[in-house]
Subunit: 569 residues, 2 copies
């Protein structure tokens, strides 16, 4: 068979099996060696393709799509450093547990390790950060080969989607010429179906744990960040069955449901900063779901709790940096929560739950007053959250934005969804992640981001020229690395501004002009509110000008006010 | 000893040994975990530090400095995806053989692999692309430990600088608190001096090769891309001693010297495209120095030559994708060239050399006429080259710019220096590499770059706000991936523009405004010339508007014209 036929049949068949395995989206970065993959993905009748020039942004764009759709997304690039640009998003996908299928084009063997142009060693390029790597065979179109590579495609999709989800990497050697036959109509091939199951506790373990659960009077549930959108409801049901309060990280999905579920506690970060308050809140059992919560105050409370602590993690990463868990449960969140809720003793004393709810309400009141009365970054974040329409999706940047959302997302706001890149907590790729979420969701999408993080992924905005994106971007511009002002390093003025503040002095209106974005400069939270309330179907950037020093001081004042309120001073 | 003292003494001592080992520059990206390294580098009396927020750009900025200074440059970042952003430049440094010392901050052991925030597995993060990886011990200040880590610093510098030069990676675990004592005055410590030697052929091998050399009538030298600035003069001396023509890649350093050395042939890419011409140019020995030349015509000529072919490469990468070398010489370029020149039989017939020189002059004449008379991208590149002041440094982007410089850099222009990232030939990081060269060189620095490549590293421009940079940027804006128009894929209109042309439709005047650059839009080569001739001490961006289709057609016309001229039709 001809070279072109071999190439076309091989790659088409591989792509069709990816589609049959649940892949619906592919993000392609331009390049020559990747021509067969790019053309045949573009040619597939059902896979949506998106072109994104900067591979670093492209990979985060796909990450956003995979987070929002809960399905594996393909990324395709050419050989050389192109693929190395995927690394930050591959690392984030690994730790945040997001399914990505990385397809890199490579030279064939005879052009490897002998100085050929744009050829680098791509074998195991992402090291331990890819869940699976496979170097593909050269294109052939014998049935045996198609059956084999069809299974590789199915396996790649399955491995990316199996718990813990994550990135897989397949490397394709292609010989020239690289153009496939676009008129080729694939014949029906026998493809593989894959069924993935979740881990569930056996009865003996379950009865052990149920006995312990039912002995607990002052139990506490902690819902950390999770990419599993199914688990939130199950965890709330467990809380209600046991009568335990559930401390809900902004990335757990539980806060979206807090209006109807009073046992969801959202202001713990504010009131657990006080030692006296903590002393009166001694739990006798802590059940932890998800990754490490954003709140450092909560982490310290957990570390200081001498009780039994169950860490639930099907992904078996033992995410427990304080080494305080006493029981590691490698089991699916939802299944365990359902099992325990069913077995829980319903007859509970409410006083422990009310103690948490009372503290929470007091903190809520102070935080609401702060949003109304203050003028700093925190108040602006509160204003944003109050302005979000019901069902909105908000992606928050790392460093200050995610911490401020943790603080200022309180009861009484309309239900919305919050996302962040909390696998490795980087400030990179955030804009592209938001655009990826926007590409999948039909509801309005918002991005809350600091100026350094906005700068880091400005290139992400290029896709908005090709793909209509409804995204409202709120840039908190405090001219530099705001979070560093909260660190002990800030007390040493020598070199601080040079090394940490790193004021980029960027006026983002020029960035908005480069990418044809609508732009509003907001000097006050009222101006922000007005801008947010105008048309949200257009792509817009709102730049909120804030002050790092004032911000640090007013946040610290808030913690004092909350502590006074909850102590009843 | 206190934690702070241990931290300060350990890191200071390490940095002092780096300095003693030849490190004079460090590029720092802001972060918290890397505080001890950042503060103490900033505090060092002799190491120049540069802050660069985007780690991807930061690493390429350091790469440019290391290329220009021929000395190892340090890059420092915090833990997490920050370090993954270094990967593209690390890969480029590996293949282009540029010494980089990557210092990443990490969590201590007790915060690894247990879900701690911003902690990823950084062990062997760059896989095979780092020449050496070492996970450092925790800070201690006993003399034994300082002696040990001092040797690690010396070894890191030596490994990065030993042939083939490249990147090394050290990973530092730091516990909180992270601030060092900036008032600490280091005591004199016994430090290590390192002597690195080059590989030289022994007498027996040398006399074998000399005998072969002196039997050759029609020998040819090829000088490919090289980061070794010393070798150019030695290779020219060998050419003159043997009477062989030397085909000089634009990145070999030889073209800078071509005015006084007629045996340097620069127009081979134009005239070796013709089969009849090639048939009359049969070499009986080819001696190749450096990496793969930019010219595909030359590569095909080499592949078609059945003679003895010596590949000289001290770095032992066997850079020979056509598998045509008959002898691999793992020996230093300059030393071998000197040895052979000394042993060469001076009594040569000039006719072979004159044949090459005559063809070269004919091609030169056509190319000069093209620069004068045409209006496309090639003529604009020729105009740029003619306008460069003596001693200027020009960094050229990959894809079209480096190929156009190969074509249009001809005799009669003032001597200047040309650089490119030809390790992996990526379009990424090029702006930062140019800024790194500008940070080291006192002469004027120019950047010739396509619009996609300019876009890819726009973030690189941020450093110009903190560090004065004399850089003249010429952006060839053909609104997309111009090189793809030369590929067979361009013949298939379906999907071509979406996947390959990828028109970004960027007006770079907004980018210039974002970074406070002077900006000229040049619609003609005359406008470009005028802009180039104005003040070159300021940072400026010149955007040259060109057309991809016209460009492809006129280049093809040039090859035909040259072929007619050299064949004497």
């Amino acid at each position: 068979m001809s070279h072109k036929k071999n190439l076309t049949v091989y790659v088409s068949s591989f792509i069709e099996q990816l589609y049959q395995s649940g892949v619906k989206r592919a993000v392609i970065s331009p390049g020559s060696r990747s021509t067969p993959l790019a053309y045949l993905l573009e040619n597939h009748p059902h896979i949506h393709t998106y072109v994104n020039v900067d591979e670093r942004s492209a990979a985060f764009y796909a990450l956003g799509m995979a987070k929002a759709s809960q399905e594996p997304v393909v990324i395709v690039c050419t050989s050389g450093t192109a693929a190395a640009n995927y690394y930050p998003a591959v690392v984030e996908a690994r730790y945040a547990r997001v399914p990505l299928i990385v397809l890199t084009a490579d030279r064939p063997h005879e052009l490897r390790d002998n100085g050929a142009p744009q050829a680098i060693d791509q074998i195991n390029l992402f090291g331990k950060h890819a869940k699976w790597f496979f170097d593909m065979p050269l294109p052939e179109s014998e049935v045996n080969m198609l059956q084999y590579t069809g299974r590789i495609a199915a396996k790649a999709a399955a491995k990316s989607a199996a718990s813990p989800k994550g990135p897989v990497h397949l490397n394709f050697p292609f010989r020239e010429p690289l153009s496939p036959d676009l008129s080729y109509k694939p014949e029906n091939q026998p493809l593989s179906a894959v069924y993935l199951a979740e881990k569930q506790l056996n009865d003996r373990y379950l009865s052990d744990l149920t006995a312990q659960l039912n002995q607990s009077k002052n139990g506490l549930i902690i819902a950390g960040p999770s990419e599993d959108q199914q688990s939130a409801a199950a965890i709330i049901r467990l809380a209600e069955a046991t009568g335990f309060p559930v401390l809900a990280d902004p990335l757990s999905g539980l806060r979206t449901l807090m209006t109807e579920h009073p046992s969801v506690i959202e202001c713990y970060d504010a009131f657990l900063r006080d030692d006296e308050v903590k002393k009166n809140l001694q739990a006798d059992l802590i059940i932890r779901f998800g990754g490490m919560p954003v709140s450092k105050a909560l982490t310290q409370y957990v570390k200081g709790s001498a009780c039994s602590q169950w860490l639930i993690d099907e992904g078996a990463d033992w995410r427990d940096p304080t080494s305080s868990a006493t029981h590691y449960l490698e089991v699916n969140d939802s299944l365990l929560a359902q099992q325990l809720a069913k077995a829980a003793d319903q007859d509970n004393d409410d006083s422990w739950l009310y103690q948490w709810m009372t503290l929470n309400e007091k903190a809520e009141r102070e935080i609401r007053a702060y949003i109304d009365n203050e003028t700093d970054e925190g108040a602006a974040v509160g204003t944003l959250l109050e302005s979000l329409p019901e069902g909105a999706h908000l992606l928050v940047g790392n460093s200050m934005p995610v911490r401020d959302v943790d603080t200022f997302w309180i009861r009484g706001m309309k239900p919305f969804h919050v996302w962040a890149n909390r696998g490795a907590n980087g400030i990179d790729g955030v804009v592209s992640t938001a655009l990826g979420i926007a590409a999948v969701k039909q509801e309005p999408v918002y991005l809350l981001i600091g100026d350094l993080s906005m700068f880091h992924d400005l290139n992400g905005l290029l896709v908005t020229k090709q793909h209509a994106s409804q995204l409202q971007i709120v840039v908190m511009n405090n001219n530099g690395g705001g979070i560093f002002s909260f660190l002990p390093q800030a007390a040493e003025p020598e070199h601080f501004e040079t090394l940490f503040g790193t004021p980029p002095s960027l006026d983002f209106k020029h960035a908005a002009a480069l990418y044809d974005l609508n732009y509003d400069r907001c000097e006050t939270k009222e101006a922000l509110k007005e801008s947010l309330n105008s048309d949200s179907t257009q792509l817009k950037m709102m730049e909120v000008i804030t002050d790092r020093e004032k911000n640090t001081a007013s946040h610290r004042q808030l913690w004092k006010t909350v502590a006074r309120a909850v102590r009843g001073d």
